[in-house]
Structure formats: C-alpha cells, structure tokens
C-alpha cells in the first residue's frame, strides 16, 4: 500500500508507531509521575495527588540536612568535573596523537569502569580509602566519581580530537609557537565544544550517582543521592519526590546546555 508521497501507510506502520509510543510513555511516565507527586498536598506518596502544594519543596529546601547535601553533591560533582576533564583531556591527547606500545590496552583500561559493575568499583574504592582513613571526605567521593566519569570524557574528547586537523597545530609550530602555546591558542579553542560537553557529562555522572558515595560518605557528609537512599529506608514521604524532581531538573538543564552548545558550534 503506497500513499500519495510514496509513504507506506499500512497496518505494519501503525503497529510500529504504537510500539514506539508505548516505549516512550513507559520511559517518561516515572519521571512525570514523580514530578506530579512532588507537588502533592498529601502527607504520603499517592498518585494522583488529592490536592497541589509546594510544602515538600519547602521541606526539602528548608531542612539544613537536605540543603547541606545539595552543597556536598555540587562540590563532589564540580571536583569530579575538573579532575575528569583535565585527566581525560591529557589522556585523549596522548591516545590520539601518540605513537607508543600498549595504546590499545591503555584505552581499554580507561574505559573499563564502564564495563565493571559500579558496585565492584565502589567496594574497591571503599577498601582503598579505609586504608587511607579518608572515607567520608568530599575528595574521596570526587576521586571515586572521576574513575566513573573518565570513560565518558575520554570517549567524547578523543572523538573531537580525531576530527581536528593536525596541520593547524603544525602550522602554529612553524609560525614559532611552542607546543604549549599551540595547544592553548589553536587546539584548545577549536576543540572547546567537545571539552565543555565532556565536562558537563562528567558533572552529571557524579551528580546522580549513588553507589560510590553510599560506600564513601560519612555521617555528616552525604550527597543528595545518599540522603535520598537513607530517607527511603527510614520514612517514605513526598520530600523524596521533590528531591528527585530537583535532580531531574538539574540533569535536564545540563543536557540542555550541552545540546545548545553543540547546535551553536554546528552552524
């Protein structure tokens, strides 16, 4: 059955569209429900909410423990972003430009945290930091998250570098620039969109990750994800929904920024 514009409009097409729609609804529904519930006026988690209010957001932003967790999460994610981007950029430069033995093995090692279950990495890091008596510190959690964020950063930056015309850097050298000046004035400005996008993904990797801080957090120093987990174990009230909505909003904002950046540089 061929339509006017040569498009197939048969029962098969309708079936595919229906399945795709069902998958999309299934993916988005939990997010939508959480956001709706977060505006509930009821005392317990219930859907649909009987009435709307902002009381759970007041509770969330008004409780010192929750506020402190936001600060901790942002600190850990920011440090992770800096560590992973700097290390990932250096590693990517070496992997794309360098000619040395064992390059494939090093690339595989850098990407391995993506394959190893996070809980294994978390347990390993826990024993490591216990020995150093460093559990419960923001730095330890950031180092742990750097391990998880490195693969993403390395994948994004190596892809960007492969599209970079190396002759531009050679031209800079021939014009008298040192390698560092060539990197700073020519290479970095041109690969900046890739580097910034990698940094944003590193931030997100840390911001919504639970397992590593679950092992490494202390009583005082807890990320948002850990505090959500702990409060789920003790009492289930709609504050959780407000916190979750906050996490979702931050994620959407960062992804949106990354998409905007990519669109601007494509023009």
């Amino acid at each position: 059955m061929i339509g006017a514009e040569g498009q197939r409009t048969g029962p098969g097409t309708i079936g595919v569209v229906a399945i795709a729609a069902a998958v999309l609804v299934f993916l988005a529904a939990p997010v939508a429900i959480i956001v709706i519930v977060s505006f509930s006026g009821a005392d317990y988690l219930t859907f649909p909410p009987p009435r709307l209010s902002l009381r759970w957001y007041e509770r969330f932003f008004g409780t010192p423990e929750w506020r402190q967790s936001i600060v901790v999460s942002v600190q850990v994610a920011s440090l992770t972003m800096v560590f992973a981007t700097v290390l990932g950029l250096a590693a990517s430069l070496a992997l794309v430009r360098g000619r040395f033995r064992g390059k494939g093995a090093i690339y595989a090692m850098l990407l391995s945290p993506m394959i190893v279950p996070t809980i294994i990495t978390a347990i390993g890091l826990y024993f490591f930091f216990v020995k150093l008596k460093a559990t419960g510190s923001i730095l330890a959690m950031a180092v742990g998250h750097t391990v998880l964020a490195l693969p993403v950063v390395v994948i994004i930056i190596t892809a960007t570098l492969q599209g970079f015309d190396l002759r531009l850097e050679l031209a800079a050298l021939s014009l008298g620039a040192s390698r560092l000046v060539a990197l700073r004035r020519v290479t970095l400005p041109l690969i900046a969109p890739g580097v910034v996008s990698a940094a944003l993904f590193a931030f997100l990797t840390s911001f919504d990750e639970l397992l590593i801080p679950l092992f490494l957090a202390g009583v005082e120093v807890q990320t948002l994800t850990v505090r959500v987990w702990n409060s789920l174990l003790l009492e289930v009230d709609p504050t959780i929904a407000a916190v979750s909505s906050f996490l979702i909003a931050v994620t959407c904002a960062v992804l949106g920024a990354s998409a905007l950046l990519r669109r601007r540089t494509d023009v």
Binding site: R167, L173, L175, A177, L190
Partner: protein
C-alpha cells in the same frame, strides 16, 4: 614589509646525504642539493617521490634518519620546527578557522612578543603585500580558497623568515586562479628576496616559476637544473617524460662519432641521428626521445634532419595547437604538436605525411634493463 627595509636576504639551504626511512620503506634516499640564497627552488616529482618528506625534514616536522640540513651554514637538524624560523605554507592552507584574517597574520608576531603597535603596522603591510587590505576582520570561512591561501602566505611571511617552504600551495585552486597566484608568488618572492623551496607535482608550474628545479623520483634526485636545462637536456627518459612530454623510440646504435652524436636504427628500420650525454657504443640498445613540438610535418628537404613517413592516425585540437598521432609502421607512433597559424595546413586522418626533426633535438639514452 613594504620595501626591502630591514629585509634580510634569503638564506642558503644545503641538504647533505638526507635520508628518511619509515620502517623498511625508504622515503628519501641520500638527497644532497644546495638551494642558492634568494632563489626559487622547486622539488618536482610524482606522488611518492619523496619531495614532501624532504620538505618536511627541512621544516622540522620529520626527523631525518641520516644526513644534514644547514641553513646559511648552520646545522638545524636538531632544532624543533618552532626554532627554525622558516615560513611554511601548507597545501590545505591551515588558516586558523577561529581567528580573523588579521589575528591569523598577527599570530607569529604575537608568539614572538612583538609590540602591539609594531604588530598592527606589519599586519597592515603583509595584507597590502598579498592584496587583502580591507579583509582584516573576516573569518576564514568567509573567504574563497584563493583568499585563504593569501592569508596563509601573509602569515608565513610576516615574521620575515629567510626561507619560505611551500607544499603544493596552489593544488586546490582552479586553473585561472592558479596562473594568477603563480605570478603573485613570483612577484612577492622577488620583492622580498626570500629563498623559496616549493613542492609540486605540476611540471608546468615548476618550469614557469622556478630558478632551479630538482626532479625527484623514488626518493632520489634525478636531475637538478634550470627549467631550460631540464627541458632541453634531460639526463634520463624519466625527466624527458615527466618534464614536458616526449616521444620515445627504441633502437640500436649503428655508428657513433666522437662529438657525442650517434646513428640509431629504430625498430621498423627507421634510421635517425641523435645526441647523448654519455658515450655510446655500436650495438648498444638505446631509447631516443624527441619532443612533439620539435617535429615538423613536410619540412624543406634539408638533408641533416631525421625524417620518417607516416599516416595521421588521430587529431586532437587544443586551441593554440593541434596534436597529431602519426603512425610510422613498425617504428611506432609519434606525437607531433603543430602551432595553429593561418599559414599552417591542417592535416586530416589518413593523410600520408613526412616528418622531420633535428638530430640535436633527439636525446639518446642507454637502456637500463628495466627502464623504458
């Protein structure tokens, strides 16, 4: 850069035994040549002949396996590219896409910590030199290929290097623009007295622009000379074929004379006289090379000329000239190029034609076992 004010004349570049191995592959093998100060020197050769690798070794981007590179007598082999003070123009232009035209040209001055006022003055002069005044604030993507090439040229000259290296810089331009840029390049080079080392595979470009040309083949220099020397007295069939074009006839030497002349019987029995740079002996197998424009159809009966009878096989009209393929039976086919003047009679396919050419225009090359 307006006048030769403060301009240092170009430097002499001397290559000695330059060799580059990439693993088992010999890219450049024992190349020695002297590029005279202030000259336009071209490395000419087909792809894979080692010309670009040689240039990259001079630039410092490729480390020689053996040999020395001296600029005005100073060995630079150990210096990194940024310390050699050589201008370089790449085939791809390599203009920085995130910087404006004047920022691109200011780049080499900024990294040399030249004062802002001096940078402004010299960027202005450089723009004037390449005739891009008024383009200061444009970005490279707003420029045509030819304009980007001029930016690259201005950027490579603004810090007054004594040697300018160019790697097939006009390869991406169309024919008209290329001819224009060739003239511009010559003008700028004469004006600045800078030594230019130019890489190209285009023999026409090499002949028109260069003071001296090194023909490269298989990583070695085949012949170094002025364009006229290469064209009129090639040292090998390869040069005779690669620079300009040549007819080749196989034959055997039947007599020699002490002045380097010899009589050759070509396949098919045609006897022709020619000259050789090296002594030949009777019975030696040789290749005779003669250029298409040196052959004249139906010339006066001067007895000292080589002559042969043939049938016009193919005609290619090229505007200023016509090229005929003339079959000489078992001897082979000769390409003949005739200028189109009113007086010259046009031949038609199937015409019987007598060809004549001077023995002095006939180069004889001893045949190596595997060469043509």
């Amino acid at each position: 850069m307006a006048a030769p004010e403060g301009v240092r004349a170009g430097a002499e570049v001397r290559l000695q035994g330059l060799t580059k191995l990439f693993g088992p592959v010999v890219a450049v093998s024992d190349v020695s040549m002297t590029v005279p100060a202030g000259s336009f020197f071209t490395l000419l050769g087909p792809s894979g002949s080692g010309k670009t690798t040689t240039l990259m070794m001079v630039a410092g981007f490729v480390h020689p396996s053996r040999g020395a590179i001296a600029i005005d007598g100073i060995d630079v082999a150990a210096l990194p590219p940024q310390k050699r003070d050589l201008g370089m123009v790449f085939q791809s232009y390599a203009v920085f896409p995130h910087l404006t035209v004047s920022e691109n040209i200011a780049f080499p001055l900024e990294v040399r910590k030249v004062s802002a006022a001096e940078i402004r003055r010299r960027v202005g002069e450089a723009l004037e030199l390449v005739r891009l005044t008024g383009y200061e604030r444009r970005l490279p993507r707003q420029l045509s290929g030819g304009e980007q090439q001029r930016v690259a040229l201005a950027r490579a000259l603004v810090f007054r290097p004594r040697v300018l290296l160019m790697d097939e810089p006009l390869g991406a331009l169309d024919k008209k623009l290329r001819a224009h840029m060739q003239l511009e390049l010559k003008r700028i080079q004469r004006h600045l007295h800078v030594t230019v080392i130019y890489v190209t595979h285009d023999q026409e470009e090499a002949l028109t622009m260069s003071d001296r040309v090194a023909v490269m083949r298989g990583g070695q220099t085949e012949q170094v000379g002025t364009p006229a020397e290469l064209y009129e007295s090639p040292v090998s069939p390869f040069v005779a074929d690669f620079v300009g074009e040549s007819n080749f006839l196989d034959g055997v030497v039947i007599s020699t004379s002490p002045d380097g002349r010899a009589v050759v019987r070509a396949e098919g029995g045609l006897e022709l006289r020619g000259t050789s740079r090296e002594p030949l002996h009777v019975g030696q197998r040789v290749v005779a090379a003669v250029r298409p424009e040196k052959i004249v159809p139906q010339d006066a009966r001067a007895s000292e000329l080589n002559r042969g009878k043939g049938v016009v096989d193919q005609i290619v009209y090229a505007g200023d000239a016509t090229r005929y393929s003339v079959a000489l039976g078992a001897t082979g086919t000769l390409t003949v190029k005739v200028q189109n003047r009113l007086a010259s009679r046009q031949l038609a396919t199937g015409d019987l034609v007598e060809l004549a050419w001077d023995p002095g225009d006939t180069r004889l090359f001893a045949r190596a076992s595997d060469e043509r």
